[in-house]
């Protein structure tokens, strides 16, 4: 078990900066997710930790040990590949036993540990199957068992749920979280799926173009994003742009005032704020408050209903609610409102583009 520390880690491929100056500490037992679009450098970070790639600058420490220049073999990490990378010539038992066998552990110990690991991922009866004979979900669990059976310091998961269908993915998410908590193992997960990141992690690093945009708890990065990229990458957001009126709120280009806390922002400075769709209330046109708008699109999502709206001032807005809580049909004129507490002024500098 151990903490991970990134100290000014960078990776360049020629002129391309895959990872820029990453400094962050992962606490012992923490579940940290690296979230970003494809090409953001998140898998590179995982390879750097695993030792499959050498950093161009900086240091990586695992459990207080500088592993920057160690071979993968010496790092004591359990890595689950996106493709699982199960050995096709070995059966499930031998796959899981592999890390123990190459460490020369006695046969009795291997048998006991492998049996325990397989029981932990509910694959008891399948020890003598070949990986090719298993479903995607089962293969994923074999890969997981193989990665933790030798009690590594940390667990690395590269889009482990990417190849599973949606229903299975939700099941495995719950299992994975329970397993990680039981083992108490520091875990680094890489994904482009924001739902996965939000539901599994203690903290999330949001990455774009190799640079860390924000690090925080799921609640923080969702409700208080550091910038537009984070706001847009973690779900839908209504972006409101205008100038700060100190102590009152944000004056939009259209002239409306959006009440919110302005902190220490100077009067008249350009700024942007976001409101999450599920915080937006639809009111009848006759209501005296809110922004006047027309319903352009009504999207039914099962558990949710989402409305795309055109504000009279030209702004596009999105509202969402649990189906049945609110209703509006295409073409309806409504008023859009929210509580000032649900408006988050983006802390980014030079917000007005």
């Amino acid at each position: 078990m151990g903490a991970i520390e990134f100290d000014g880690v960078a990776k360049r491929y020629g002129p391309v900066h895959a990872v820029r100056d990453l400094s962050v500490q992962v606490a012992e037992g923490e579940f940290l997710t690296i979230l970003g679009p494809s090409g953001s450098g998140k898998t590179t970070i995982l390879s750097l930790v695993a030792g499959l790639t050498a950093p161009s600058a900086g240091r990586i420490l695992i459990a207080g040990r500088d592993v920057t220049h160690l071979e993968p073999q010496q790092r004591r990490i359990g890595l689950v590949f996106q493709s699982y990378a199960l050995f096709p010539h070995l059966d499930v038992f031998d796959n899981v036993a592999f890390p123990l066998v190459v460490r020369g552990r006695p046969k009795v110990e291997i048998a006991a540990k492998v049996a325990a690991a397989l029981a932990r991922v509910r694959l008891d009866g399948l020890a003598r199957r070949r990986p090719q004979q298993l479903s995607g979900g089962q293969q994923q669990r074999v890969a997981l068992a193989r990665a933790f059976v030798f009690e590594p310091d940390i667990l690395l998961l590269d889009e482990p749920l990417g190849a599973l269908d949606r229903k299975l993915r939700e099941e495995v998410q719950v299992e994975l979280k329970a397993l990680q908590r039981d083992l108490g193992i520091t875990t680094l997960l890489v994904t482009h799926d924001q739902e996965e990141a939000l539901s599994l992690s203690d903290r999330i690093i949001v990455l774009d173009h190799g640079a860390m945009q924000q690090v925080g708890t799921p609640d923080e990065v969702y409700r208080r994003p550091a910038n537009r990229f984070v706001a847009g990458f973690l779900g839908l957001a209504n972006l409101l742009e205008g100038r700060v009126e100190a102590g009152r709120g944000l004056r939009l280009g259209s002239g409306e005032l959006v009440a919110c806390a302005t902190g220490t922002r100077p009067e008249g400075s350009a700024a942007a704020a976001i409101v999450r769709p599920e915080r937006v209330r639809l009111l009848p046109e006759s209501a005296g408050e809110g922004i006047a708008a027309r319903v352009r699109q009504d999207v039914y999502l099962g558990h949710l209903r989402r409305w795309h709206l055109d504000a009279d001032a030209g702004q596009e807005l999105v509202a969402a609610a649990t189906d049945g809580d609110q209703s509006a049909a295409i073409g309806d004129r409504v008023r859009v409102s929210w509580s000032p507490a649900d408006v988050w002024l983006l802390p980014e500098a030079g917000a007005a583009a």
């Binding site: 695993a50 030792g51 499959l52 071979e71 993968p72 073999q73 790092r75 004591r76 990490i77 359990g78 890595l79 590949f81 493709s83 990378a85 050995f87 096709p88 010539h89 592999f98 890390p99 066998v101 190459v102 460490r103 090719q132 193989r146 990665a147 030798f150």
Partner: protein
């Protein structure tokens, strides 16, 4: 495919041509061993009774085993080395391995006489270096034949093996490394088992091809290292004993088909 439905009408004439011009003559030829001049087992009896034929068969199998083994010993490391090369170097080496395919076997085989003869490059170098004081006879013995067959057949093992090695997922080797396997263990526990089916298939292929080899053993063996094909040549062109040749050919065909079955089984397993 659009031609699918009518494919039969295109293929049937070719099939008929194959059967009439190729398969029927072979069957007629082979049938001579039991039907000529009338139904008899006399030719087979003669074959089983004279030890000379068995000695030639044994000799042929021995050379086939040695050739396969030497091809394997040279070919596996060569293919493994090629796999690790960078793009341009890899292309260059593949071309070098392929190059002999574009030169007539006859020319290549005679070239060995120039290289390995008593006055050849190798012997002169050995004598010049003082390693030996009289020429070593490389030619007209089993050693010469084996050198020749190995040279000709090596690409048949190396190229498919190299292709199979390229298909081995690099991530499996990385996974092995992260799981703590030292380089040696990665090779013996992951890489080698994954390449084994293609390697075995290559060995069987070389073995089959050696069994029926004619030109190279004839030239480099100088008639002193009889293999099955050379014996058939003698039986047909000099004796002439077509019936006996037919009997031996039947046996050779059966052995080859059996080995081909083994080859296909292994190849199919490596593909899955």
């Amino acid at each position: 495919m659009r031609i699918g439905r009518n494919a039969g009408s295109y293929v049937v004439p070719l099939l008929v041509l194959m059967v009439v011009a190729f398969d029927v003559p072979i069957l007629l030829m082979l049938a001579q061993s039991v039907l000529s001049p009338h139904p008899t087992v006399a030719h087979w009896a003669e074959f089983t009774e004279s030890p000379i034929y068995f000695r030639v068969l044994g000799n042929t199998f021995q050379i086939a085993v040695i050739t396969s083994a030497v091809c394997g010993l040279i070919g596996y490391p060569l293919a493994y080395w090629m796999r690790g090369l960078g793009g341009r170097a890899q292309l260059a080496v593949v071309t070098l391995v392929l190059l002999p395919f574009w030169i007539s076997i006859l020319v290549r085989t005679y070239a060995w006489i120039v290289v390995l003869g008593n006055n050849g490059f190798v012997n002169r170098s050995l004598i010049g270096l003082g390693i030996t004081d009289r020429p070593i006879s490389f030619l007209y013995n089993q050693l010469g034949v084996t050198i020749g067959t190995t040279n000709v057949l090596l690409p048949f093992l190396v190229l498919p093996l190299f292709a199979a090695m390229l298909k081995i997922d690099e991530r499996l080797l990385q996974a092995a490394a992260t799981l703590g396997a030292p380089r040696r263990a990665i090779f013996w526990r992951v890489f080698f088992p994954l390449s084994l089916p293609a390697f075995a298939a290559g060995l069987v292929l070389v073995f089959i091809l050696t069994l029926g080899f004619y030109v190279t053993p004839a030239i480099l063996g100088g008639g002193r290292v009889p293999m099955i094909s050379n014996m058939l040549d003698v039986l047909i062109n000099q004796m002439p004993r077509w019936e006996l040749a037919a009997a031996i050919s039947t046996l050779l065909l059966a052995a080859t088909l059996a080995l081909y079955g083994v080859y296909r089984t292994i190849a199919a397993r490596s593909a899955s």
